[in-house]
């Protein structure tokens, strides 16, 4: 029976889920750090830095995720040996960088210019003003759209199976090929797992948003 098979294969599904979560955490972390840096460059940087940032962002937003994964794995493997997991973190992480940079750019630009001016007028340096005044406000604006990015990147981790990362979707394919058929049930279970992770993540992010809310930055529920 398929239910017995699923039960027997549960450790593999959970392991696949664990790999997917690691991939998600890795790519979101890359996207967060580099995306914020890219946004700062685009808003405050010199002209050349700004142009470089925009070109990077256009390229990575303009290519399908699967193509990026294939380029990253097979392209890079031509020069150095690279495990599929690492190739996937890099490809999806850089793609997320491009998307997150746009979230943070919008959030930074939503902070009134008077905030920076007031900080500078007190005698605060530009960099310190960015970190003490602008970014704390921008981050509050960014959480809402970032929740969106979390959801779409969780789903994008399933694409990593094309380069052989044994994540949740790949495990499901293995189960199906070893049991012949039952596609609907196996993928139904996988869909539920993705859905649950997505909901849990969103709930956690909404909680964070609520905790960081101060008067004047009330959350706009989607």
């Amino acid at each position: 029976m398929i239910w017995n098979t699923l039960y027997d294969n549960l450790p593999y599904l959970l392991h696949g889920t664990w790999i997917a979560l690691q991939l998600l955490a890795g790519l979101l972390a890359i996207g967060l750090v580099l995306g914020l840096a890219l946004a700062l460059v685009e808003v405050y940087g010199g002209r050349l830095a700004r142009v470089c940032g925009i070109v990077f962002e256009r390229v990575f937003r303009g290519i399908p995720a699967v193509v990026l994964l294939l380029l990253s794995y097979y392209g890079v493997s031509d020069f150095i040996e690279i495990p599929p997991f690492l190739a996937a973190v890099l490809a999806l992480g850089l793609r997320s960088t491009a998307y997150q940079s746009q979230i943070f750019r919008g959030a930074i630009q939503a902070v009134p210019v008077g905030q920076m001016m007031a900080a500078r007028a007190l005698g605060m340096g530009r960099v310190e003003a960015i970190f003490r005044i602008v970014i704390p406000q921008a981050m509050r604006h960014a959480i809402g759209p970032w929740t969106n990015e979390f959801s779409s990147e969780l789903k994008a981790t399933s694409l990593a199976y094309v380069i052989g990362v044994i994540e949740l979707t790949r495990q499901a394919k293995y189960i199906i090929s070893s049991t012949q058929g039952n596609i609907l049930i196996v993928f139904g279970v996988v869909a539920i797992i993705y859905f649950i992770i997505n909901r849990l993540g969103n709930i956690a992010l909404y909680r964070l948003e609520a905790r960081m809310t101060v008067p004047g930055f009330e959350r706009r529920r989607a």
Binding site: A118, A121, E128, V214, P215, G216
Partner: protein, 246 residues
């Protein structure tokens, strides 16, 4: 009287339009001067040029004899406070943190010292009971008083006020003007761009009348308000309904 702030022939152009055509002025210690003049005449630009928020194209500024340069600008601004028309309180910080951040993070005082200083200044502007509120929870008048407290906490030598009551509802200007009068009477050196004639009359040592990027005349409030030398000053005061003598 010793000169605290000296401004020498400031010129500012936007493309080929000159907003300031060589403006010079001086403030002695404890002096309060009010700049008046029609809108679009360069008053706010002048104030921003003085602390280099808008760098001037030509001209020099000296605070206590030290010339402002791009190297020492952050140091100088710590002693040359600026109060904005639209307050610009830091929106994510409480009133207390708004006032405390300067002494704590810029002047490097201890947390206790900075907190005490902030509470003293909040008491001075009558806002000690609002210390834990956020800017969005305050009225405009309260926000402007908090921003004055933020300026005072830096222990400035001069405060520049850029139309501090223009963004306020009429019934809220009084509380801000009262705080500014009190500061003037305590000997704070102030340069105020404002059309608050009542403030100018009772608290200013001099009124500067500006038009078209020039200083037209500078004199005591009695002279400017009763018997200005220039017809343009007379015309302006008439237009805002404050010409006292015919």
């Amino acid at each position: 009287m010793s000169t605290v702030l000296r401004v020498e022939s400031i010129v500012k152009r936007y493309s080929d339009h000159a907003v300031l055509n060589g403006v010079s002025l001086e403030l002695a210690r404890g002096e309060a001067k009010v700049i008046m003049g029609p809108s679009g005449t360069g008053k706010s630009t002048l104030l921003r040029c003085i602390n280099h928020l808008t760098p001037p194209d030509e001209g020099r500024v000296f605070l206590e004899g030290e010339e402002l340069t791009s190297e020492n600008i952050n140091k100088i601004r710590q002693r040359l406070a600026f109060v904005f028309q639209d307050f610009n309180l830091f929106l994510h910080l409480t009133v207390l943190d708004n006032v405390r951040i300067g002494p704590r993070r810029i002047l490097g005082q201890s947390k206790e010292e900075a907190t005490e200083r902030a509470l003293t200044e909040l008491r001075r502007v009558g806002l000690e009971d609002r210390a834990n509120y956020y800017p969005a929870q305050l009225s405009g008048g309260q926000q402007q008083r908090a921003s004055i407290a933020r300026a005072l906490a830096m222990d400035p030598k001069v405060i520049l006020f850029d139309e501090p009551t223009s963004a306020l509802d009429p019934e809220l200007t009084g509380e801000v003007v009262a705080v500014m009068k009190q500061l003037a009477s305590e000997g704070m050196t102030m340069l105020v761009v404002s059309h608050e004639v009542a403030f100018a009359r009772s608290a200013a040592d001099k009124i500067i009348f500006m038009e078209g990027g020039y200083i037209v005349e500078e004199a005591t409030p009695e002279v400017i308000l009763r018997n200005p030398r220039s017809d343009r000053t007379r015309g302006f005061l008439k237009a805002i309904g404050e010409q006292e003598a015919v």
